[in-house]
Symmetry: C2
Subunit: 348 residues, 2 copies
Amino acid sequence: MPVGTQATVKGLSQRDLWEDLKAPIILANTYHLFLRPGHELIRDLGGLHKFMSWPGAILTDSGGFQVFSLSDLRRISEEGVTFQSHLDGDTHIFTPASTVDVQLALGSDIMMVLDECPPWPVSHEAARASMERTVRWAERAFSHYRPKIAESPTRHALFPIVQGSMFPDLRKECTERLLELDADGYAIGGLSVGEPRPFSMEMVEASEPLLPKDRPRYAMGVGMPDELPEYVARGIDMMDCVLPSRNARNGWLFTSEGKVVIKHAKHRADPGPLDPACSCYTCRNYSRAYLRHLFQAGEILFSSLATRHNLRRYLDIMGEIRQSILLGQFPEYLKTVRDKHAGTAEPA
Amino acid sequence: MPVGTQATVKGLSQRDLWEDLKAPIILANTYHLFLRPGHELIRDLGGLHKFMSWPGAILTDSGGFQVFSLSDLRRISEEGVTFQSHLDGDTHIFTPASTVDVQLALGSDIMMVLDECPPWPVSHEAARASMERTVRWAERAFSHYRPKIAESPTRHALFPIVQGSMFPDLRKECTERLLELDADGYAIGGLSVGEPRPFSMEMVEASEPLLPKDRPRYAMGVGMPDELPEYVARGIDMMDCVLPSRNARNGWLFTSEGKVVIKHAKHRADPGPLDPACSCYTCRNYSRAYLRHLFQAGEILFSSLATRHNLRRYLDIMGEIRQSILLGQFPEYLKTVRDKHAGTAEPA
């Protein structure tokens, strides 16, 4: 899922995203939209789909992660999390019920419960307390959500989030307790918080066997291109990540042959496309030399062209994975990716 | 002509410019491209059209104006202008011959001679000296250009530039002397240097009757939307201006009903398009409320969407002018624009 933090995937029009990239779903950030322009304004204007002119599906996070990462002052209590806006310092509170209401106002297709995402590393004791609060918050979110959604003419799924830091026993216990909510899908949170990659994979492995096979499993905030098949191999169906778009703006481009750091002098006079194997608008129309020029000159067209490419690369990888699964060839595909990654870990 | 300073109209892909806006010609800046990425690199990569993937025509200025406006240290002599790069402080020289060579390396369709553009106001004596140097430089540029172009398999026009500050007698004399060059077209420079608008119009009026009717006349660096028909009424065929794109990025939008300052609170919850009469991608897909949100959030998509609209507005105005001329109704059109402008001079 491309990330559209502030109701826009940075630098891309809806035509770029929908008609060209054919992205079926994007993620938007509840925290950001709650603060600006405000969920009530978006609701009054017909919801987030209409506001941002987006015909596809939208998943919204609960805002909890952003409160923990962006807000200077925050205080967690059983009621919820009180925080100061990073924009103007105003004090707000997110509760399990209020974040459901905000996401319903946005008209999100897939909503997330408010969770607590502890920093890493953290003690087992603190991780347990945090996980247990996350479970209680999820229960409260569902108690608020069920009667609301029963009356709603439109459908909006709500996913609980598995936490438990890097402790497999806590991950398992959290998963088991969240299963009682009988949700439409389940998210695995608390990954990509600075932990070594084997830990992230191990935490997914701890939860996955317990999750129902007929419901989507969503690994939040991952990952690098070579990690996508690793998560799928561990039973994950959905992922979101700012890496393709953020790295694009910083001139790190993902190709079928590995990473390209566009500012490197060797691309200065290169008339070839970024990735000859890529069908994106950027690769069909522009050379590495031109992209490097735009990057060096600080031109905003660079961000737009680079983001289109990196998102195309991510969507292509997911397409390859789906295709190989349908053909019964996923194990071979995974091996190929692992072998290739071992040979191209350094930037091109 | 949309302005593509660094081989990109800021924020727009070639599809936006060529397929959507159907801009037939853009302007690129010799000074900027000479410094970065360098005209020799662009020549080696097949010229500017290929480098920036642009199928339309390209006009390049001579770089003189940028030297005067951007370079900290510059020294004018009969030979040319010595200046320090605003990027790295390196010293370079532009001569009448070298700027032709740079523009030929770029593969420009319409090139400009090196001229001296004095600040405003300036004494008659200084303006005369500067104008006379501009004429001598134009003669040297053509002496260099003629044998080169005689051997060239491709066509590249070279326009001299009428100068003379705000003195009609100098403008007339400059025009008469430049006519001896029998150029494919003529530019009127030294406008938009801070002078009141009636002065700019008067300077065009001083030159225009002398210029051949069968050659394009190009007013450099103008103007506001309501000024376009005024220049055409004074015999001008071509104009370029950064106003539509620069104002777009700053949130000043031109509509058929006047200016819109998008940050104004009254647009906060406005579900309507920027300009209901506009057919651009932005007006067909987004609301004022969404555009204001993008602007307030500092999102780069705003620059792209706003630039598309403002350039569409400028191209629409030029289209209306052409249509009214073909129908023999230009005087009525001009009167309508003047009446409308008198009523909507304030931002909406």
